[in-house]
């Protein structure tokens, strides 16, 4: 009962969005009238949405790659050198994005990255950097928990006694052990990056606006068009959630067999 009502609360807006996106017109009626694919075709033919869509994919991809490259060594080094303290650092890092509201962070970017020393405001690289720092905590937390849970320190000590060098240990033992949590982290990172609006909206230039930033403009237009553009973002998020569920299940299976 409780779950049923709650699921209705979750799905009603989603269903209305989908229904609205296929409706011919929807003004002051309970549900839209007519069936039409024109809103999706409109989005497809809209150059600013096409550019924004590609820009979002590009930024998400770059963010994912950089976050992985930065966070795996960071989480590994911190956990191995600090033990329990690393868990505290992980928690501290994890609260960062909430303790510092996105609008404040964005404001900080406007101040510091419009100076002559760092004149990067409006560049795509800066958008990626902002996405990296907002998503890094999620990856970091996942990895630290996993490194401790898997007792990598013991496995590494064993490998060391068997003659493995640091590089061999890292590539034979550490990376394969962490593959599930890296994947799970990546799903979250890319999902957040694709949906990120609050910081990007403040720091993007006109030509490198991401999909959510452009999406906001659509809200002031026709209902069908707004629905279609939103459903596209919804679809991307759902793919992310599905991938997340699958990796979580694979990880759970792998842990059972250990």
């Amino acid at each position: 009962m409780v779950i049923g009502i709650y699921l209705l609360y979750i799905f009603l807006p989603i269903i209305l969005l989908i229904v609205g996106s296929f409706g011919e017109s929807w003004t002051n009626t309970l549900l839209p009238t007519g069936f039409s694919l024109r809103w999706y075709l409109d989005v497809w033919h809209d150059p600013s949405f096409r550019r924004a869509f590609l820009m979002s994919l590009y930024v998400a991809l770059g963010t994912s790659a950089i976050v992985t490259a930065l966070t795996v060594p960071l989480a590994y080094a911190l956990t191995r050198s600090m033990g329990r303290t690393a868990t505290l650092v992980a928690r501290l890092v994890a609260v960062m994005p909430i303790a510092a509201p996105p609008v404040v962070l964005g404001f900080g970017y406007i101040i510091i990255f419009s100076t002559d020393t760092f004149p990067w405001l409006g560049t795509t690289a800066l958008i990626v950097a902002a996405h990296v720092v907002t998503t890094l905590p999620y990856m970091f937390q996942t990895l630290v928990a996993d490194i401790r849970h898997l007792h990598l320190d013991r496995l590494e000590l064993a490998a060391e006694s068997l003659g493995a060098s640091f590089g061999q240990r890292f590539f034979h033992i550490v990376l394969p052990s962490l593959r599930h949590s890296i994947l799970a982290g990546l799903v979250v990172v890319s999902a957040i990056s694709i949906g990120e609006f609050q910081v990007t909206n403040l720091i993007a230039g006109f030509l490198n606006r991401t999909y959510p930033v452009v999406l906001l403009q659509a809200f002031y237009g026709a209902t069908g068009f707004a629905c279609a553009t939103t459903v596209i973002l919804l679809f991307l998020a759902a793919i992310g959630a599905g991938a997340g569920a699958l990796t979580a299940r694979a990880a759970a299976r792998a842990k059972e067999s250990v």
Binding site: A100, F113, A129, F166
Partner: protein, 282 residues
């Protein structure tokens, strides 16, 4: 720390350096520069802030929003977590998937979904109009801080459920049976046995969710433009205005940063204390 770890310290530092530098450059530095621009005028802006009626109304709205969103999420999240914990494994996984769906949603999706539900000609609004509830009243509610809280709950409740679920599933229901066998009423058993067990996590969930609600502006901007009086939106409009008063914006930033950090530290402290007690027990 053992000696062998000491020996490897330079290596660890090398591995951690890129991550730390990135965080310093793109997180600490921007926040520092906000504080820096506040210091530039000697904190005058901070004083002026308290005479600004817009700021005071924004602060009031944000506090209302944070408390409402926090309380609402916890009140809804708790029974949902309870029902979930008692579901069969396969059903639970499916429902969990649906519930965590909104977690990855952009606030904009939520905003437009809510416009379709509760907007002036929204689905629910029109349904309610059939039974005589004025659409004006519904729309007025939805576009107020309390209404915003309702929208925020859409992606805040999943966070609460995910936080509470482990505690709820680990709760030993035999304790309740034991309490009733000792003569406690069902209500007294829940109050005396379950509530103390849940309280620390409920506190953590409340403050976490309230902090998110206090600092977010995306959903609000998409839902109501900058009409509603909440601090993040006030800051947003101050920044977007051309020729804006940076020290004034920095002062608002400081308040936002301070309140959110405070709420997060209360949550973290409470979580840490709770874990500490748990460890001591074991």
């Amino acid at each position: 720390m053992s000696a062998s770890q000491n020996r490897k310290l330079p290596l660890f530092l090398l591995l951690a350096a890129p991550g730390f530098i990135t965080l310093a450059m793109f997180f600490v530095l921007p926040l520092g520069s906000v504080l820096g621009s506040l210091v530039q005028d000697g904190g005058q802006a901070l004083l002026r802030l308290w005479q600004d009626p817009l700021f005071l109304r924004g602060l009031q709205g944000s506090v209302m929003l944070a408390i409402t969103a926090g309380a609402l999420s916890v009140i809804v999240g708790l029974p949902v977590a309870f029902k979930l914990a008692r579901m069969k494994e396969s059903a639970r996984l499916l429902v969990m998937f649906c519930i965590s769906l909104p977690l990855t949603f952009s606030g904009l999706i939520v905003a437009y979904g809510f416009i379709l539900c509760f907007g002036r000609s929204g689905f629910i609004t029109l349904l309610l109009a059939e039974v005589g509830v004025s659409p004006e009243w519904v729309a007025g509610l939805v576009y107020s801080p309390v209404g915003l809280a309702l929208a925020y709950c859409y992606y805040l409740i999943p966070r609460v459920v995910l936080l509470l679920l482990p505690v709820v599933s680990n709760f030993d229901t035999r304790l309740l049976t034991a309490a009733t066998s000792l003569g406690a009423s069902r209500f007294a058993a829940l109050r005396d046995v379950l509530l103390p067990e849940m309280m620390p996590t409920l506190k953590v969930a409340f403050f976490l969710v309230a902090a998110v609600a206090f600092g977010a502006y995306g959903t609000a901007l998409a839902l109501v433009g900058s009409q509603v009086n909440i601090l993040p939106l006030l800051l947003y409009s101050r920044i977007s205005d051309t020729g804006s008063d940076f020290p004034q914006a920095a002062a608002i930033s400081l308040v936002l940063l301070g309140v959110c950090s405070l709420m997060m530290s209360v949550a973290e402290m409470s979580a840490l204390r709770h874990e500490h007690r748990k460890h001591a027990e074991n």
